[in-house]
Structure formats: C-alpha cells, structure tokens
C-alpha cells in the first residue's frame, strides 16, 4: 500500500491502462441509432413487399397508426434496455415488468383491433405453417435492431444483463412486427395471439439468453 492508500497492485493495473475515455452518448442518442435502423428496415420492407390485400378495409389509425404505435413502444423498450447499460441508471423492477407487459399488450391489442375491423382475407388451411412463417419473418426483421441494441449494451456495463437483453429483444420484436402488421394477410385472432405475440415473447427470450451468455462470459 502506497502513501496515498492505494494498493500497489491496483495502482500498477490502473496506471497500465489510463488512457482518456469518452463518456457514452446519452441514452436517447443511442436509441436514435437503433430507431434509424428499425425505420430503415421498415421502409425497405414496405418498398419490397406488397401491403396486405385488405389494407383498404382497415382504417388508417389502425393500419399505419397501429404500426407507428408498435414502433414507438418498441423503441421505448430499446431505450430502457440501453439505460440498463449504465450502472445505477436502470429502471425499477416494477417499471420493467410493466413495460414488458405493455409490449405484449400492445401487440395483442393491435391484433385484436385489426381482427375486429378486418376479420381476415381467407381461412388458413395450414395454421402452423403460416404461423411459423410469420414468426420467422418477425425474427429475421428484428435481428438488425436486436444486434445493434446488444452491441451497444455490451459496450457499456449492464449490471442486469438478462433484463437488458429481455427488454432489447421485446423492443426489437415490436419494431419488426410494425412491418409484419402491414404485410401479414391473416387477421385471425388465434394466429395473431399465438404467432405474433409469440414472436415478442420468443425474441424477449432470445435477448434474455444473450444477456445470460454475456454474464457467463464476464465471469470467466
């Protein structure tokens, strides 16, 4: 221990790596980065794939409004996930539980309202096959936003990595389903509740697993 009270080994290790660092940008700026990616995916997909056939029967507030709501709630979740990367700045457990519930509820409500307004174009003969395609679609579209969120998180120090991953996964899923909502021709409530809400839960789980892996890596 030196005269200033600093243990010699600690002093040596700090002095060996004392380069100036730039503080992380504020959460809103990092969220904006993910938002740009999510909106770009949204725009590209809508330019490439034709909108659902019954689009004209769905009121504007529900078609585009529903998508915008999903996008906003998704970005809210991503913002909260990124906050988890700053020690001491994470949200309270109750807020996290509330927001995770809000994510699933938003998904269910948008699906329910769409089913009421435009109850589907045609009956689905292979519900599992169609459902799997929607889940796959949501998962693939969510990957860019999820990867960027996790990369931004791992650059910081999430003290609750599983929670951060869960929020990031849910947020990415909602931004992805904002696209699927305008493309998927199936309004059947069972399809929406099982496969589209399932996509949110699945990606939350994926984010949680990502957090666990990061946590285990950190312990080694």
């Amino acid at each position: 221990v030196s005269r200033d009270g600093l243990p010699a080994e600690l002093r040596r290790r700090i002095e060996a790596d004392l380069e100036p660092v730039r503080p992380l940008p504020p959460v809103w700026r990092r969220t904006l980065l993910v938002a740009v990616v999510a909106v770009a995916v949204f725009a590209v997909m809508l330019a490439l794939i034709p909108l659902r056939a019954d689009m004209a029967t769905i009121p504007l507030w529900l078609s585009w409004g529903g998508s915008a709501l999903q996008l906003l709630v998704g970005l809210l979740l991503i913002g909260l996930a990124l906050r988890e990367g700053v020690p001491g700045a994470g949200s309270a457990a109750g807020v996290i539980a509330g927001v995770a519930t809000l994510a699933v509820l938003t998904q269910a409500l948008v699906g329910f309202a769409t089913w009421r307004m435009a109850p589907g174009t045609e009956p689905i003969d292979r519900p599992v096959h169609v459902g799997m395609r929607c889940l796959e679609h949501d998962a693939l579209l969510a990957i860019p936003a999820l990867l960027i969120t996790l990369a931004l998180l791992w650059r910081a120090l999430p003290v609750r990595p599983q929670t951060a991953g869960l929020l990031g996964g849910g947020g990415a899923a909602l931004t992805a389903d904002a696209v699927t909502h305008l493309l998927c021709p199936v309004s059947d409530l069972q399809h929406v509740l099982v496969w589209h809400c399932g996509a949110v839960v699945f990606l939350m789980l994926l984010g949680w697993i990502g957090g666990t892996i990061w946590c285990l890596r950190g312990r080694r």
Binding site: D4, G5, L6, P7, E9, L10, R13, I14, E15, D17, L18, E19, P20, V21, R22, P23, L24, P26, G85, V86, P87, G88, A89, G90, S91, A92, A93, G94, V95, A156, L157, V159, R160, G218, R219
Partner: protein, 171 residues
C-alpha cells in the same frame, strides 16, 4: 470523475480515497468477511476503471459507483454459491454505528442484529442509515423505486428495533 475519465491518476486516487471506506462497509454487508471485502474492493475499483466510460456527467457519481460495487459483490456471491463455499464471519473494524442507533444499543449488538436481518432490508438500511445515501440514490443502486427503498428501510429498522428491545427484555 471527469478528470479521471480524461486520464488523471490523481483523480482516480482521490476517488479511491473518498470511497474506499464506505465501499468496504457496503461490501461487508454482502460477504461479512473483512478479508474478502477488501479483495472485492480491489475488484470493484478495477471494474469501475474498466467501465469508466459508462459514467455520464453530470449524473451523480455515487449511484454509479455503488451499482458497480453491488454487481461485483453479487457476481462473487453467485460464484461462491456454485462452488458451495462458505466464509467465516468477521466484523469489519471500521463499520461505524450512527449515534441514533448507538443510543439504543451498543455497536456490537447493532452489528450482530443487523446481520440477522434479511439481505434486502439490511442492504437498504446500510446504504441509507450507515452510509448516508438518499432513498433516490439507494433505489438507483438496488434497482427499485425510492418509495420501495424507503419501505424496505422502514421495515428493516422496525425489525432491528424490535430485536434490540427483545434483547433488552431478555437481559
């Protein structure tokens, strides 16, 4: 902290000197072993150093530092649980007892009864009553709202008082 982020060793030393004792006390509430608490203190400062870019001025420094320290302590406890090791309990000599508590019981009694409280309540009690952090700060460190932290501290203090009274009754 800003100077330390800019690469100043003097500022790191000042941060260490200012926080060494309170962090040691905080770590002791997790491990209750002075030697391990001192080892974890070094680990916490190394983690603080590795994560120094995550401190965003002008946010308060304390919740940030304590949250990292808590993370280090919890990681240690998890690894210890996996290895199924247990430590001999040791008092931390520097742990003070606030005058309000000293009026109702001596230091040794307070520390012993504090140890018997559930960890969540004990942690909040130590952070607020022993280390002087506000409930807002405690909430940020522990990951709950300030209101929840207040309720936890209130319940823990009530249990501590009850335990002290019972001890007095037995005596």
């Amino acid at each position: 902290m800003v100077g330390y982020q800019g690469g100043s060793m003097e500022d790191f030393t000042a941060l260490y000197q200012a926080l060494e004792k309170p962090l040691l006390r905080y770590l002791w509430t997790f491990v209750r072993n002075a030697t391990v608490a001192e080892d974890l203190l070094q680990e916490a400062f190394l983690q603080i150093h590795r994560a120094r870019h995550t401190y965003m001025p002008p946010r308060p420094v304390k919740p940030w530092v304590y949250a990292i320290t808590r993370h280090v302590a919890l990681m240690y406890l998890r690894s210890q649980r996996r290895r199924r090791e247990s430590l001999a309990e040791q008092d931390l000599p520097e742990v003070p007892v606030p005058p309000a508590m000293e009026r109702i019981a001596d230091r040794a009694t307070v520390m012993r009864l504090l140890r018997e409280l559930p960890r969540a309540g004990q942690e909040v009690l130590v952070l607020h009553h022993l280390l002087g952090l506000s409930f807002d700060e405690v909430g940020q460190i522990v990951g709950v709202t300030a209101g929840t932290a207040k309720v936890r501290a209130h319940r823990a203090l009530k249990r501590l008082r009850q335990a002290i009274e019972e001890e007095g009754g037995r005596a």
